[in-house]
Amino acid sequence: MSGASSVLEDGTLLSRLDRALFWLERQLALLGGLAVFSLMVLAVVSVTGRNFFNQPLPGYVDWIEQAMPLIAFIAVSYCQRLGGHIRMDIVVGMMSGRVLWLAEFVSTAAMFILMVLLVWGTYAHFDRSFDFSAPLWSRDSSMDIAIPLWPGKLLAPIAFSVLSLRLFLQLWGYARAIRTGTSKPVAVPMIEDAATQAAHEAETVSGFDNGEGA
C-alpha cells in the first residue's frame, strides 16, 4: 500500500505550475487542519459552558456539521499531490519505464473523468440549496440554529475542482514521461517501496524524540 511519496522538480513550465498549485494546496490543507483544531476548541467551550456556567453553546452540533466538509474535502488535492490516497501498488510496483507511466496515465485519466463529473454532481447539490433571492441566499439550513447549508455544500465542488486541476497536471507529467521514456519524471508522485515509505512515516511521527533515542 502506498502512503506518501516524493515529487521531483525542475525548471519546466509543468514543474513551475506544479509548485504553484502545491502552494495553494498547502494553504488549503492548513485550513483543513485548523478546522480540526476548531472542533476541539468548540467542544471545550461547549462542555465548560454547559457544566460550569449552565450555558450550553448554542448550535454546537450545527457548527460541527459545518466544519466537517472543510476537514473532509479541502485537503483532497494536497493528499493527491503527496501520493497520500491509499492504493495497492503491488502490480504497478513491478512495472517500470513507459509501461509504468502508461498504467499511471490510464488510472489518473479515470480519476480525472470521475472528478470532473463529481464537480458537476456536487455543484448541482449545492445549487439546490442556494438562492440569491432567499434570506442568507439559502433554501435550507441546519436543524438547531438555522445556519445556511450552502457554504458547506460549495466546498465539495471547490475542492474537487482543485483536485481536477492537480490530476490534469499529473496527466501532463505522465504523458511527457511516456514520450521521453525518462525514469525520473517531474510533477508526479513516485512509487516508493515499503522501506522508503516507512522511513517517511517514521520521520513524520518522530516529534521531539527525533535523533535522541536512535
Binding site: 490543507a29 476541539m40 502490480v91 463529473l117 454532481g121 516529534g207
Partner: protein, 467 residues
C-alpha cells in the same frame, strides 16, 4: 441484463482497477458512478437518446453523497483522534510511558520487552494508529534493549507487534469507521475494543515472559529501581490516564448516572489535554502547523475513502448485490460458525495485500449484512441466534474480530507495514529479522482471535454494562 449482473460486473471492474493501482477511494467512486449510469440507462432499454438523461441522474445522485455523508457529528471523532495522536509525540508521552513501564515491570524476565508491550498499550490510549506507534517505539525502546544485550530480532518483533494494540484500545480510528459504515453506535464499539485490547496486551506480555524464561539469551530483566523512583515516573505519564478516563466517561459513566457528554466531546477534550501538555513541553507554531497538516492529510484520505465507498454503496443498493450475497451465504449447507471462520480467514489473506481501512470499507457493505443474516438477522435475540449473540451484539463482536484480523496483517509478510516501519527506523535490522521476531506474536494473536470467536462475552461485557 439484471441489476445483479450489472452489480457483479461493475464490482469486478472495480477490483481490476484497484489491483492495477488506482487509488482505492476513486476506484470505488468511479465504479459506483459507472454502475449508476448503467442501471439507469438499462431501465430505459439502452435507448441512445436516454443516455444523457441516465448520466445526469447518476451524476446528481452520486453528487449528493460526499457532502451529505460526511457532515455528521459522529465522523468528527476521526480527525480529533488523529490530532491527539500527532500532538502526543510533542507532549513527550512516549518516553515518559516507556520510562514508567521500565521501572514498574522491568524486573520481570524479558523486562524491557514487557515494558515495551505495556508502553505501546498505554500509548495506544492516545493514538489510534498502529504504524505510527511502532515507528515511535522503534526509536525509543529498541536502542535501550540493544544496549542491554537483548536479542535484535526479539526487540524488533516486540515493537512491531506492540504497535498493533493501538487499533483496539480506544481511541481507535478504524473502529469509528467500522461503526459509521455498519450504522452502529460509535461509543459501544469503542468500549467493546477496550477489553480485547487489554487482553491482547496481557497475552503479549505473558508471551514475552515465557520466551525470556525459556531462552535466557533473549535479554535480562532490569532491576534496582526503588519505590520512590517508580512513583516519580508516574506524573509525566499521567495525561494518558486523564485522556482515557475522559473518553470512557463521555461514553459511559462508570460512577453511575448519565455519561458526561458525547464521545465527540470526550475525544475533543482529550485532544485539548494533550495539546496543553505539548505546549508546556515546548511545542511551537512550526511543530503545531506540521501536526495540523498531517492531521488534515490523514483525515482527508480517510474521508475520501468513506464518500468514495458510499457512492459505490448507493449503487450496490440499486443492484441488490448485498442481498444476493446474504441469501447465498445463508443458503450454504455448513455450520454458520464455519462460514464465519472462513470469512475471517479471507480477511487475513486480503489484509496481506491491502491496507486495513481500504480493505474493510470495500468489503463491509457486502460482507456485513451477510454476517448479520448468518446470525439470524438484525433483531434476533441472543437465544435464537446462530452465534449466541443478539443482532446488535453480533455487529459489535464482528467489528472487533475484523479489526483484530486486519491488525494481524500488519505483522505478516509480504507487506506487514509495522515490520517495514521498524526496519526503516533501524537500518541495522533487516525486515526479514523483524518478521521473524514478530512471528511468536502472530501465533499469540491467532489464539486471541480464536478465544474472542469462542467467547463473544469478552467483547460484549463492557458495552453490555451501559444497558
Amino acid at each position: 441484463m439484471e441489476p445483479i449482473d450489472i452489480g457483479l460486473i461493475v464490482s469486478g471492474f472495480m477490483l481490476v482497477m484497484v489491483v492495477l493501482g488506482m487509488r482505492v477511494a476513486f476506484a470505488a467512486a468511479l465504479a459506483g458512478l459507472a454502475g449508476l449510469i448503467w442501471i439507469f440507462w438499462a431501465k430505459k432499454g439502452y435507448d441512445p437518446s436516454a443516455f444523457v438523461w441516465a448520466l445526469t441522474v447518476a451524476v446528481k445522485t452520486a453528487g449528493q453523497v460526499p457532502h451529505s455523508k460526511v457532515s455528521s457529528q459522529a465522523l468528527s471523532l476521526i480527525p480529533t483522534f488523529i490530532l491527539i495522536g500527532y500532538l502526543a509525540y510533542y507532549a513527550g508521552l512516549t518516553k515518559a510511558l516507556f520510562e514508567a513501564a521500565k521501572r514498574w515491570v522491568g524486573w520481570l524476565p524479558g523486562g524491557l520487552g514487557v515494558a515495551t508491550v505495556f508502553a505501546t498499550a498505554g500509548f495506544a490510549a492516545v493514538s489510534g494508529a498502529s504504524v505510527a506507534t511502532s515507528a515511535v517505539f522503534a526509536r525509543i525502546a529498541i536502542p535501550e534493549m540493544l544496549k542491554l544485550g537483548y536479542d535484535k530480532r526479539f526487540a524488533a518483533g516486540v515493537v512491531a507487534a506492540g504497535g498493533t494494540l493501538a487499533s483496539l484500545i480506544p481511541p481507535s480510528a478504524i473502529l469509528v469507521i467500522y461503526a459509521i459504515i455498519v450504522e452502529q453506535d460509535v461509543g459501544m464499539l469503542l468500549l467493546a475494543g477496550f477489553l480485547p485490547g487489554a487482553v491482547s496486551a496481557l497475552i503479549y506480555g505473558g508471551l514475552v515472559v515465557l520466551m525470556a524464561v525459556g531462552y535466557k539469551e533473549l535479554g535480562p530483566p532490569v532491576t534496582g529501581f526503588t519505590w520512590g523512583e517508580r512513583l516519580r515516573s508516574l506524573p509525566p505519564a499521567m495525561p494518558i490516564v486523564f485522556v482515557v478516563v475522559i473518553i470512557i466517561c463521555f461514553i459511559y459513566n462508570p460512577f453511575g448516572g448519565d455519561a458526561w457528554g458525547t464521545p465527540t466531546e470526550g475525544g475533543a477534550l482529550g485532544a485539548f489535554v494533550v495539546f496543553c501538555m505539548a505546549v508546556y513541553k515546548g511545542m511551537r507554531w512550526k511543530q503545531f502547523r506540521d501536526s495540523l497538516m498531517e492531521t488534515a492529510k490523514l483525515a482527508v484520505m480517510i474521508f475520501t475513502i468513506i464518500w468514495g465507498v458510499l457512492i459505490y454503496v448507493r449503487f450496490l443498493g440499486f443492484a441488490d448485490l448485498p442481498g444476493a450475497f446474504s441469501d447465498w451465504i445463508t443458503s450454504l449447507e455448513q455450520s454458520p460458525m464455519l462460514t464465519l471462520v472462513l470469512i475471517l480467514l479471507a480477511y487475513a489473506v486480503l489484509g496481506m495485500f491491502m491496507d486495513a481501512i481500504g480493505m474493510l470499507l470495500l468489503t463491509l457493505p457486502v460482507v456485513y449484512p451477510a454476517v448479520i443474516a448468518l446470525n439470524g438477522g438484525v433483531d434476533v435475540a441472543a437465544a435464537d441466534s446462530a452465534f449466541g449473540v443478539s443482532g446488535t451484539g453480533c455487529a459489535i463482536w464482528f467489528g472487533i474480530l475484523v479489526v483484530k484480523m486486519a491488525e494481524l496483517c500488519l505483522i505478516t509478510p509480504p507487506i506487514g507495514l509495522n515490520c517495514f516501519v521498524v526496519a526503516g527506523v533501524r537500518p541495522d535490522i533487516s525486515v526479514q529479522d523483524v518478521f521473524r521476531g514478530a512471528s511468536p506474536f502472530f501465533v499469540a494473536d491467532a489464539i486471541t482471535i480464536a478465544v474472542l470467536v469462542a467467547f463473544p462475552s469478552i467483547v460484549l461485557w463492557l458495552p453490555g454494562l451501559t444497558g
